[in-house]
Amino acid sequence: MGDITMGADAVRRIVIVGGGTAGWIVAGVLASRYPRRGEEGVAITLVESRQQPPIGVGEGTWPTIRATLKQIGISETDFLRECEASFKQGSRFAGWVDGSDSDEYWHPFTLPAGYIERNPAPHWLEGPRERSFADSVCFQSELCARGLAPKQITTPEYSGLANYAYHLDAGKFVPFLQKHCVDKLGVSHVYDEIARVESDATGHISHLVTRSGAALAGDLFIDCSGFASLLIGKHFEVPFVSQRDVLFVDKAWAVQVPYPDETSPIASTTLSTARSSGWVWDIGLMSRRGVGYVYSSEHTSDEGALAELQSYLAERDAQCAQLSFRNIKINSGYRRQYWTHNCVAVGLSAGFLEPLEASAIVMIELSAKSIANLLPSSKTALQRAARLFNETFRYRWERIVDFLKLHYVLSRRTDSPFWIDNRRSESIPESLRESLEYWRYHSPWHDDFLQREEVFSAASYQYILHGMGFETQRAHWLANDGERALVLQSMSEAARQAQALAAVLPTNRDLLTRVRRYGLQKI
């Protein structure tokens, strides 16, 4: 084979457009995977305009973020200290099933005990159900209910006694990543605006012309320009596939709420509370809470939504008078393609779905990893990479839509048109309808999903389905006594672990405070 490194087709220069969470995660993942070696290696340039206001609200992540940050070469201690970050162990859903006072269930990050080998759901369904599904099969909901951290101060960086991710302040995360990528990984950073996109005869982007007149030549262009969608949308005109008819929420009121004092507990789950026309997110960061109400503007007015959010805060003793509320538009949907020619979109330019289950950052991580994994050495091979990427991510976006919609479809709330409309069959994707029909006679498990790396695994589906009271038909003729004994054993193991861990874990606030003071060890 010939050496094409010096050839015109070599993929050596990567230009990232946009410096938000997406841009810097992609820069970090690519630059750490393909380190710069002087004039050799891959050259990565990130260009952003200074005018771009950050979207930053308190954001939730998935446990994948730990591997991503570690790969980029970031110390967990630095990250926790500088990004207002706190530990997140899953989600708690309140009021989603019927809106009653006791209506609450957990979606923890840790898999059910023994889950890799055996499916616990049929056995839990058959049993007395004295405890909720999550409490029965997993030790983590107990830890979350007690406000405990997922690890100890002696646990090394990025390791946990329970699976965990973070809540973080995106407004601080972005400059933190930027500094690391530029100082440590050699990413070139340019502040400029894109004035024009220049293509070659085959339609590939050859270079970007900036407002200041500079030409940014590249072999692969990554569109991280946010909702502006400068390359994939404006230049390539790849259509946007709206999901508004499935996911109704399209607006949000967001607010930052201080803690009553420096010892107030910091929740280590995202609390998601259903309201008349949407739901309220409540995220505990290190020094404040990020709270917001995502709602459907077809079902309530901005004023009505604001009043609902204020009453949510008042119920929790927050002083609303001093708070400033910000309105955000949400346009749920994704591009028909994410990668075309030598341009691939990551982040909001590729798509965005409402913030339920925090899929935004995990999709950025998966995209960055996938680009790093698929990156060919020659432009002539980009088409195949694009096809693989598009197929994979089309599947992922669709699965996320299904998974989010599942939360609404399983609700039995009848108190407002929003919840009733959400169960109209024409608003439910065919794929979800098919799955739900199947799951009436079969409990979801590994083989129900096609990808090696599903955004939401079968375990997540089980936590939601059984947390919300979905019934899978019990079939005694499919029961296996040996398996049942092992599942029951795993369940008592989970209960034992909950007690053992509760005895040794500090509270979330206590650990975060100690990390600020002493740091975590790398080993």
Partner: protein, 244 residues
């Protein structure tokens, strides 16, 4: 229950304290040590690093046994070794923040008082060492205790500077200890760390020079050499098992 009381030359004028470490204090299998005593420890004890449960930071510690409360150097109520770690020598005394200073912003080094644990079995009234002379001046025994206590305070600062540097340079690694004794019983120790000798060999000259200049290099070699005492510790245990 520990009952720490600040020493007072009047109320403690006739108090006597035994120099022999009480069983209660001595029966631990790990004792925190400071780098300044490595040179003497290395003659008898294996030294490792453990993580503080309070801060997660590494601390040097001497290993005394294989099970909780097993101190193989403490035989029939006496230390069976020529050098006793300072942390044991200082028993039953400790430093506490001077009264009134706590509210004023917490303890600082120069406002600590020597206190005694009145619940310790070492505190007696008829035999043992006196703390004060008739005129209320401290005895040589109490002076030596005060000096040990302040050595431990400065030693702890030095220890954290030392282990902090080792962690920063990735010169520590976890070590798993699996031992089988003569009676075929086994011991597995976790949470111990030692110097990563491969990383030390690969260390750039400038960093090595810094370690040397700060005496850290010397301390590292003491630690590495001390591990040889694992075999004497095992021998002590085996002797105990054989003698019944």
């Amino acid at each position: 229950m520990v009952n720490l009381v600040a020493l007072d030359s009047r109320s403690h004028r006739n108090l006597r304290v035994s120099r022999h470490t009480s069983r209660e204090a001595a029966e631990v299998n790990v004792v925190s040590v400071i780098p300044r005593e490595f040179q003497r420890l290395v003659a008898h004890y294996p030294i490792f690093f453990t993580k503080s449960t309070e801060s997660g930071r590494f601390e040097p510690a001497a290993l005394l046994g294989f099970r909780q409360k097993e101190n193989l150097y403490f035989v029939d109520g006496r230390w069976d070794v020529a050098y006793v770690p300072l942390q044991m020598q200082r028993q039953p005394f400790a430093l506490i923040p001077r009264r009134g200073d706590v509210a004023a912003g917490g303890p600082v080094h120069n406002s600590l008082d020597v206190a005694i644990d009145m619940s310790s079995a070492q505190v007696q009234t008829d035999e043992g060492e006196r703390l004060f002379l008739e005129d209320g001046a401290p005895t040589r025994y109490l002076q030596s205790i005060s000096s040990i206590l302040s050595t431990l305070v400065s030693g702890s600062t030095e220890a954290y500077a030392f282990t902090g540097k080792l962690a920063e340079l990735n010169l520590l690694e976890p070590v798993g200890v699996n031992i089988e004794f003569v009676d075929h019983s086994e011991a597995k120790l976790q949470g111990l760390y030692w110097i990563a000798s491969a990383a030390l060999k690969a260390l750039p000259a400038a960093q090595l020079a810094e370690l040397r200049d700060r005496e850290f290099l010397e301390w590292m070699y003491f630690q590495m050499a001390s591990v040889a005492h694992m075999s004497s510790l095992v021998a002590r245990k085996n002797k105990l098992l054989t003698d019944g």
